[in-house]
């Protein structure tokens, strides 16, 4: 089954990728942070390294993940995302932490 997941990106990454505020990506199989980010980077390769490390695939320190009013930043990248995200009812939010000037 193909899930169509909505992903919202911070403005800086939207400009970098030449994409709108929200993108929709198709995912076969499990819908997790890892599969969402894999699919996002496959479609927009210029985003590689800007959300998670190229090699370790760890989230960059000032990036946070939210959905359905939950902070998902610290769950396992292989945990399933909420059903509302998988069903396309709610977006998966990639946020630049509020810090600095």
């Amino acid at each position: 089954m193909t899930a169509r997941v909505r992903v919202e990106l911070p403005a800086h990454l939207c400009r970098l990728g030449g994409i709108s505020h929200e993108v929709e990506i198709s995912i076969e199989g499990a819908v997790t942070q890892r599969t969402v980010l894999d699919a996002l980077e496959l479609t927009y390769p210029m985003l590689e390294g800007t959300i998670r490390d190229h090699t370790s695939k760890l989230r960059r320190p000032f990036i946070r993940f939210f959905a359905c009013e939950q902070d998902l930043s610290h769950i396992s990248p292989d945990d399933p995302l909420p059903a509302e995200v998988i069903e396309g009812k709610e977006p998966f939010l990639i946020i630049g932490a509020i810090a600095g000037g």
């Binding site: 911070p10 403005a11 800086h12 990454l13 400009r15 970098l16 210029m46 590689e48 390294g49 800007t50 959300i51 190229h54 090699t55 960059r60 000032f62 990036i63 630049g96 932490a97 810090a99 600095g100």
Partner: protein
């Protein structure tokens, strides 16, 4: 008539300033990559419309941009900078071992002969090279794995490789500088490196004449004399006439020999420019007067250049990559400040005017002389 294009990197984006050969009236484009830190932009000497830019962010990491049309349009190219093999450790500020961690690219140096080849100086200190227009990067690991590497320490701004000088007469020879490890040279295209710090004296380190550990701020070279190097160290202005084998101090009558920038006149290899800064704890000009100092004798004797520069209440800094010269008959000299001004002197430093007053803090300035 020739034109000049300035590539200006700032804390909040890149700006491109262009003028005809009179260098009086300027047009400004930007900000490009608004909101990002643009540490450095530089054009290929072979193809001036090929420009590379280092775009960084504490949030989103490193991006490298490339333009093939003189900065009108840009494309993100490769940003995967991975240390070759086991990264190992260097010294942290407190002297403990600290893992090498890539943070950003401070300086991009396009090849003198091939527009697709470009070198990148990184923090934590390492030299990378791309031979495919920036799409992929490989580390020239002989530098980082030099036997002294575990003893290198960061300067206050991080352990950055900020200076890359390519020898126009010897393609196998490259000079680099790292804060606060010092200067290094390769004579085999980057396979092996040697520290070139003999003659430097840094009283703030345990052994003031150590082989490594000197906080070199910038090095400049005139293309007609690649064996002669000029250095602005943390304190002290230095020169070498034997490709870095030995250095002698040329601070002479400078009011303070702390500073960041140093550059050489395009047509006079013994005419130098520095911007003296009060001290390492007060990063602004002495007495609130912004003065460029020029030596026409290769150092030792310096004259202040003040006409058109603010001579009261000026407390900006001029960072290490923020000075450049053009190669028009009357050499233009440029520098940018942390206050957002970019100044031009179309007459080798005699007179100055601000091109722009209110940019974000300027990190780097490069000048391109175009037909």
């Amino acid at each position: 008539m020739s034109r000049v294009r300035l590539l200006v990197g700032t804390r909040k984006g890149a700006f491109i300033l262009t003028s005809d050969g009179k260098r009086k009236d300027w047009s400004v484009s930007g900000p490009h990559f608004a909101g990002w830190e643009l540490y450095h932009l530089k054009g290929s000497p072979v193809d001036p419309n090929r420009i590379y830019a280092s775009q960084t962010s504490g949030w989103f990491g490193q991006v490298v941009q490339r333009s093939d049309d003189g900065g009108v349009t840009w494309n993100a190219v490769g940003n995967k900078f991975v240390y070759d093999g086991e990264a190992g450790t260097h010294q942290w500020y407190d002297g403990t071992p600290h893992p090498w961690e890539f943070k950003r690219v401070w300086h991009l140096e396009p090849s003198l002969t091939c527009p697709d080849t470009v070198f990148a100086g990184a923090e934590d200190a390492a030299l990378f090279r791309s031979t495919d227009g920036g799409n992929s990067w490989e580390e020239l690991a002989g530098l980082r794995t030099h036997g002294t590497g575990p003893a290198w320490q960061p300067g206050a701004g991080g352990m950055c490789l900020h200076t890359i000088l390519l020898d126009p007469e010897n393609p196998q020879r490259i000079f680099i500088a790292i804060s606060a490890a010092g200067a290094f040279r390769t004579d085999d295209g980057g396979l092996s490196w040697k520290p070139i710090n003999r003659g430097l004296h840094s009283q703030y380190i345990p052994d003031p004449t150590a082989e490594v550990g000197h906080c070199v701020h910038h090095i400049a070279m005139h293309s007609s004399r690649p064996g002669t190097l000029f250095m602005q160290k943390h304190w002290d202005v230095m020169r070498s006439d034997d490709a870095g084998e030995s250095w002698t101090e040329i601070s002479g009558n400078l009011p303070t020999d702390f500073g960041f920038v140093i550059d050489v006149h395009a047509h006079e290899p013994e005419t130098l420019y520095v911007v003296p800064i009060k001290s390492d704890s007060e990063h602004f000009p002495m007495d609130g007067q912004l003065r460029v100092y020029r030596s026409r004798s290769g150092g030792h004797e310096w004259e202040p250049l003040t006409q058109g520069l603010p001579q009261s209440n000026c407390y900006v800094n001029v960072l290490r990559d923020a000075m450049a010269v053009d190669s028009l008959d009357s050499c233009g000299v440029y520098f940018g400040t942390t206050g957002g001004q970019v100044y031009v002197s179309p007459d080798g430093g005699d007179t100055w005017q601000a091109i722009v007053h209110d940019l974000p803090a300027v990190l780097s300035v490069e000048a391109q002389t175009l037909p």
